[in-house]
């Protein structure tokens, strides 16, 4: 496992989860569905990683959890953004957009003649 890649992936996943939860309280399965459908299945995230992300962010205080009943009456754990989480989402999405823009710029750049 290469550490930097994992970090990038983890960070990215966190933003996606936070984004999902910014729509409202939902359980882990709903978050997974949101990401799967939102990306039109264009990238694949292991659902397990999603739960690690959820629990880790709960520990960090970005989200809080409580037990409740799902639409179909089953006992499920619901997650909810905290104030800190909202703040983190804003910061993360800003840096995410910067990152995307920077990558796009490099990808679209034409080679400039060099002095040598």
């Amino acid at each position: 496992m290469a550490q930097p890649e994992l970090d990038l992936l983890q960070g990215t996943l966190d933003v996606l989860v936070l984004r999902a939860l910014s729509w409202g309280t939902m359980h882990g399965y709903a978050v997974a569905r949101f990401i799967r459908e939102g990306s039109d299945g264009s990238f694949r995230i292991l659902d397990g990683a999603l739960y690690t992300s959820l629990h880790r962010m709960e520990e960090r205080g970005w989200i809080s959890s409580s037990w409740g009943l799902s639409d179909r009456g089953k006992r499920a754990k619901f997650y909810q953004l905290t104030a800190a989480g909202r703040k983190a989402l804003r910061a993360e999405s800003a840096s995410w957009e910067q990152y995307v823009a920077a990558v796009a710029k490099v990808m679209n750049a034409a080679p400039t003649p060099s002095a040598t």
Binding site: G28, Y29, G48, H55, S66, K74
Partner: protein, 903 residues
Amino acid sequence: MDPDPRTPSWRRYLRFLRPDTDADIDDELSFHLAERIEALRAEGIGDHEARTRALAEFGDVRAVRQSLQVIDRRMDQRRARGEWLANAITRMRHALRVLLRQPGFTFPAVVTLALGLASTVAIYTLLDTIVLRALPFPRADRLVALSSPMPKLDDTWGIARHQLFYYKENARSIEDMALYRRNEATLIGDGASQYSERVRTAVVSAGIFDVLGIVPEMGRALSPADNLERTPASVVLSHALWSRRFGGDRTIVGRTIDVEGLSLSVVGIAPPTAQLPEGPVDLWLPDYVDPAAAAQNNHVRAAVALLRPGYTAESAERDIAPLVPRMEEVFPSAYPNHWITNSGFRTAVVPLRDDVVGRTVMRTLWILLAGVLLVLVVALANVANLLLVRADGRRREVLVRSALGARRGDLLALHVTDAVLVTVVAGLVAFVLARLALGALVWLAPQGIPRLAELHVGVGTAMLMLSLSMVLGLVLGVLTARATRGEQDHAALRDASRGLTLTRRQVGVRGALVVAQVALAVVLLAGAGLMLRSFQKLRAVNPGFVADGVTTMEVALPSARYDNVQRVSDFHEQLVAAVRGIPGVQDASLVEQLPLTGRTGCTGVVTNQPGATGRNEQCVTTLQVAPGYFEAMRIPVRGAASTWDDLHRASAGAVVTSALAEVLWPGENPLGRTIRCCSVDSGWFRVTGVVDKLYDAGVDAPQMQAVFFPLVPVPGGDLQWLARNVSLVVRAPGLAPADLFPLVQREVGRLDPQVPVTDARALSDVVAASMANRTFTLYLLAAAAAIAVLLSAVGLYAVISYVVGHRLGEIGIRMALGARTTQVARLVVGQSLVLALVGVALGVGGALATTRVLGALLYQVQPRDPLVLAAVSAMLVTIAVVASLAPTWRAAHVDPALALRGE
């Protein structure tokens, strides 16, 4: 999410346990998988296929589950900790509010406990600094002091120079050894930038640097070669003197300084930490210690040795013991006539710390610690009592709470929080008090208390105080909770709405505490009383001279210029004449050392005209005195003391004490016998006078056996006995020391401006200083006893008030039935008296059993002195009556109607 705090308590408990956290994770993950499988089946995928895909999408279930467990457990722990803290803070805040609202409870509790804690910590700090902590030397645990007790002469000497070489060579237990003497010298200024000053000197054998582990900061230490010079030629400066007087000038090494008129070459600078066992010095001078010199019976030096690893002071003493009798053969010049066997001479080895601190001081401090621990126990009993009284007042609150389902743990926490809060606040107050008290102690302490300079009240003391008060708070809280638990049943609930009387148990616990307090106070007071009586008796002893109206000063002649008998003698005669000429001065004279300023050592004196017993020698105090000394001190002399004329004619005689005369010439007339000091060439003196009772080491020591020789030796006599540093005694009743000092200084300056005069004090202060150790102990014990008495008074008052408060109803009935005020008063005072009397009886028993430990500190007072015990008992009974006055007044003025109506 924190719903109703009652239902989830089991659940919350369970959640701290592993299975529940894990089950939550399992629930969450299986919910996910079930949902996903359901969703896939809804898309028309087969059961088995849906299951496989859902698992594949999830990844490694077991690994995920494990990492979630780690995260959640961490989270749970943190949450539990936070919850506990938040609870504790809430409880604290609540308790603080309640305590502040009840100053009548809080104030006495905090004050009494603070007094107890402060005295305990103050004395413990003293004990720690002086007794428990190692001396400031490397290998301090292997350092010992050597001395020469002689049981048959009832005396103890120091160590002689030949013993140094003999023991270093022959004693297996001794790795290294050194001799030293503490002294003073005049450091002579150049007249311009530097002034002349008296400095503390250590006159040492060179080995002391190795033994004490002193490595010079600059230059070199003294070497054995330096010890071969009869007059010192080299010197090591202390760091402090070097920085103060020479401004830290590094070029000083190799230059010379003027000490007593001798030009000494500075060979090194000692490090700042260098000191003698007894304390810091300014100059390190080489003693004359030549292995080739003839051995002399001159045991005046202090000795410190470094033991080889594995030896203790006791085993080293056993190791040295066989070497001692052999010295009669090895050093016949020093020990003629089986001197060692006859005197019982041996070599004692004690740990250096015991020697420096001294048994009396160690014993005193341990006694005081026991004393203040008693005070602390009294204070604790008080606070426990107050807590009980308060717990009683809160009984309803507690009962309601427990009826509402508060658990036993919650109730315990309630009591513990209260108690800890009280003790911690008391601890903070006590820390401030202890600091102040120690400052005052250092200021009050006599000079004889060693190591006080090392005293330091800092973080360590604060931590000690804090932890001590925390522990006490916990203990008190738990005890209070236990004591009240028995009352938390339904019977108590009914009773709490105010019964007319108290249960036996309620009175019993509180009464027992007060009885214990009174008993402890009796023990402490008895100790202080015995010390006080000793002190009174000591003050009443006549030291043998009249101290009032006498001022003393020290005069030191620089040895280089005053190098012969005539010059010294002329100066002394002129000085005495000049001082006598000062208006207001009745008498003046000189003496080698003031009385009662500690041991003058002991020197062998010999008579060639022994009495009927044939005894011709005795080791005694020898003092050189100028003519007029006995008149100035108002010491009556039978016969006559020498005059200046006798000195001029070289026919001066000696004066002996009757205590010595009784030894050498029992029942015979000592006048006219001849006597000789120490060395052969000091010459024979005729005994011309006898003086009676005189005390030397202190008025509590035996009477002095002494010979007073003339201050000036016979012409051609040994210069070793030339007294250059003498004390001037001036009888001038109308002049205070401070007034007399400049007048004497002027006269001395007229005779020789380079001679310093120092240390003007009243002779009565010198006498007082000789009792200072005992005075100090008395003060401390008296303070401890005073605190204990105060605390018992508070305790009695609290209990009687409590009892009266609860008996108001009963008293009201009695008064309604016709009881008179006096009867009611008798009822209340009687209750207080019963408690006090039981306490006093127990205390007297305790005092009889324990005051024996005061032993050596007492003077002509029996540890079971009935007068002291009676006075102490009477005092406490009086206090019991006084403490019950206010509650009695309250009881006697009960309005029966009001009291009966209830509440």
